[in-house]
Every structure is written in C-alpha cells, then in structure tokens.
C-alpha cells in the first residue's frame, strides 16, 4: 500500500490534526508514515493543508504531487487540489462549505456535510473528524478507526483535549456514513 493524502481547508479547521491523527494510527499499526504541513507561501489567515504519506515500504519522498486521496474542507481548497488528484483517486469534499460539485469524472468524489454533522455531534470544530471518519470507512487499509481514536489524546494539545469526546463521536459518525 502506498497512499499520498492531502488534507486541505481553512486555518482553524483542524487540517493538520487530521493528518497527524492518521499518521499516528498508521504508525502504531506498523506502517511507514510522513506528514508535512504546507507552511510555505501562505500568510496568516490563509488556507492550510498537509501532505500525508502512508506506505508499507520506506517512504522515499514525503512530498506528494498527485495525491491518491484528497480531503477538502472548503471551496478554495477544492479549486486548488481537485486537479492534482490521481486518476482513480478519492476526493472527499465538505458540502457544508462547498456549494458546487467537483468537475472531474475520473475520480471518486464523495460529498460529506461535515460542518452540519459536526454541529449535530456537538461542535462545528469537529467537522474534520467527520471527514476523517468517512475516510477511514472508505479506505480501511489506512488505519483502524480505533487506532485513530486512541491517537486522539496523544495528538491533541492539553488545552483542546476536552473536545475529544465530541471528536470521538464525530469520527464514529463519519465512519458510519456510506
């Protein structure tokens, strides 16, 4: 298995956390992982994204030009990354903030009302967990849901740890979608 995943959205949507969580979970399951946030040209208040590689083999390059999986949480991210997804790849997009459909038909595009569902679970800030749960459902070989849930306490800073109950619920909710 070799998957190059890009998570993308606003700063503040927990994009980096999604990446870290799946990395920790996959690592614990014995896979090779790398995570690299975009931090380059962007200034404050811009978009955020991170590149995650999960692989059975040693990871040569941690950079991803053509992701096999892309999770986009807002519109600018859809614009920015849709093109780059590998043919046959997976695109999860957050319809709570994206009011149009991906235009490509050579990829698998899966909508998710992440913000709304997160709100339902108790906090809109766990929208990223909804999307991540869904991803785990669609690509179970990446990592087990349980592994991700148990990675939560490690990856979330003390200050925000109280949110983990809702995060867990949201992960499960996302995982339950189909």
């Amino acid at each position: 298995m070799y998957e190059g995943i890009i998570f993308a959205g606003f700063g503040g949507q927990g994009i980096i956390l999604s990446g870290k969580l799946i990395c920790i979970a996959a690592m614990r399951e014995g896979k090779n992982v790398s995570h690299i946030p975009s931090y380059g040209a962007e200034m404050r208040g811009g978009t955020a994204n991170c590149s995650v590689v999960i692989s059975d083999e040693e990871i040569a390059s941690p950079l991803i030009r053509q992701p096999s999986i892309c999770v986009v949480m807002n519109k600018p991210s859809l614009f920015k990354f849709e093109e780059s997804v590998q043919a046959g790849g997976l695109l999860i997009y957050n319809t709570s903030l994206i009011d149009l459909k991906p235009s490509r038909d050579d990829i698998r595009a899966v909508p998710v009302q992440a913000n709304d569902l997160a709100q339902e679970e108790g906090n809109v800030r766990s929208a990223n967990m909804i999307a991540l749960g869904l991803l785990l459902r669609l690509k179970p070989e990446l990592a087990a849901l349980d592994s991700v849930i148990s990675a939560l306490d490690e990856a979330v800073s003390a200050r925000n740890r109280s949110l983990n109950i809702i995060n867990t619920k949201s992960l499960k909710r996302g995982f339950s979608l189909s």
Binding site: F10, G45, N74, K75, L97
Partner: protein, 73 residues
C-alpha cells in the same frame, strides 16, 4: 430618525466584531452566514438608529465600513 448609515463591505469584513463593541447604539451584530472567505461578517440590524458617529468605521481594521450621513438638501 436615522442620521446616517454604515456601509459594510461584507467581503472585506473578517468578523472581528470590534465594530460591534464600538457602536454606541449597539445596532451591529454578527451575521449567521459566511462571506466568501468563510468568515461571518457584521450586519447592521437597526440602521434607523445609526447616528453616523463613525465609531464602527474608525475601529475597523479592515476598512470594511464606510459611513454615510444624511444631510438636509
């Protein structure tokens, strides 16, 4: 009777709410929807009460507010 009105550029607004605090008439509030940058923005819910005091505009870091004043012709 309205003395004036704020003109809020909702695409410039970043939703910091400083104007809401600053308005002596307390006639500004945060929108429930989001602008194109994904931010909530300020709206004036009772423009009639605006005194055109300019407080909201003065404090706006994003120059998102203009103030119009009504003057007798």
């Amino acid at each position: 009777m309205a003395k004036g009105k704020p003109g809020i550029d909702i695409e410039r607004c970043k939703g910091c709410a400083l104007c809401i605090e600053a308005c002596p008439e307390k006639i500004l509030k945060m929108s429930e929807s989001f602008n194109r940058q994904g931010q909530p923005y300020t709206i004036c819910f009772e423009p009639e009460r605006c005194t055109s005091c300019m407080s909201c505009a003065i404090i706006c870091p994003d120059s998102a507010i203009r103030i119009w004043r009504y003057v007798a012709v």
